[in-house]
Amino acid sequence: MVFSILVLGAPFNSQSAYSAFRFVKAALESEHTIYRVFFYQDGIHNSSAIATPPQDEFDLYQGWQNLQTQHSLDFVTCIAAAARRGLLNESEAKRHNKDNSNMAKEFDLSGLGQLVEATALSDQVITFGQ
């Protein structure tokens, strides 16, 4: 089965992002395909490069980054939802004349068309919302 996942919640604010992470891991273990993980609304915060949970807490940000690297997954963060919430990659930061960027390299910034495409090309899209 080909799944795409829609993540709408930020780490810590709700458990939804963590549930999505566990689902993706389990799907990969079971040899299903994860076509794309799309981060929208507050889910964009999962793509932060600098969010720093306390040392003794689970680091979901690191979790996503490791997962992406290990499995070459397609992680897409919605560019509009990210910008309005203060998450920019290098080129967006330059484009908007901001001093810093803060997005992890494991995530691509793109539009909602990527979510629509994922919907068309996957067997199912599963949403993890708050």
Binding site: V2, L6, Y35, A80, A81, R84, G113, V116, T119, L121
Partner: protein
């Protein structure tokens, strides 16, 4: 991998406008799906009924007029707009914007919408 198919996408709105970004971010998805020529239906239910009140003037809270923005949906090929009647009754809403061609549906028609969709997004 599966072959691309025209998806019957159901977008369910249940949020009031202006107090959260959900109404706007739902509309953005609807417009994207319309642009990519998917078969999109939008269901307004619960507090999303408030999106359809006339005479909104959100400039008062420095917001863009969501009601007006909904009117561009047909230009993007999104014309299947539904509102569940009970939600209107529960909220004592007697008039909704008639420029938006929205069909009032019953509980069983709502259930059918959910059953027939290939993918459901909820905002």
């Amino acid at each position: 991998m599966s072959q691309p198919k025209i998806q019957k996408i159901l977008i369910v709105n249940q949020s009031a406008p202006y107090s959260s970004g959900s109404a706007k971010e739902s509309l953005d998805l609807a417009l994207a799906a319309g642009t990519f020529e998917q078969d999109v239906s939008i269901l307004f239910t619960g507090d999303a009924c408030y999106q359809l009140l006339t005479a909104q003037d959100p400039k008062e809270v420095d917001s863009k007029n969501l009601n007006q923005m909904l009117k561009v949906l047909p230009i993007y090929g999104v014309e299947k707009l539904f509102i569940d009647e009970q939600s209107l009754l529960d909220r004592n809403i007697k008039h909704i914007d008639s420029d938006l061609r929205i069909t009032k549906i019953s509980a069983s028609e709502t259930r059918e919408l959910y059953q027939n969709a290939s993918t459901v997004f909820r905002f």
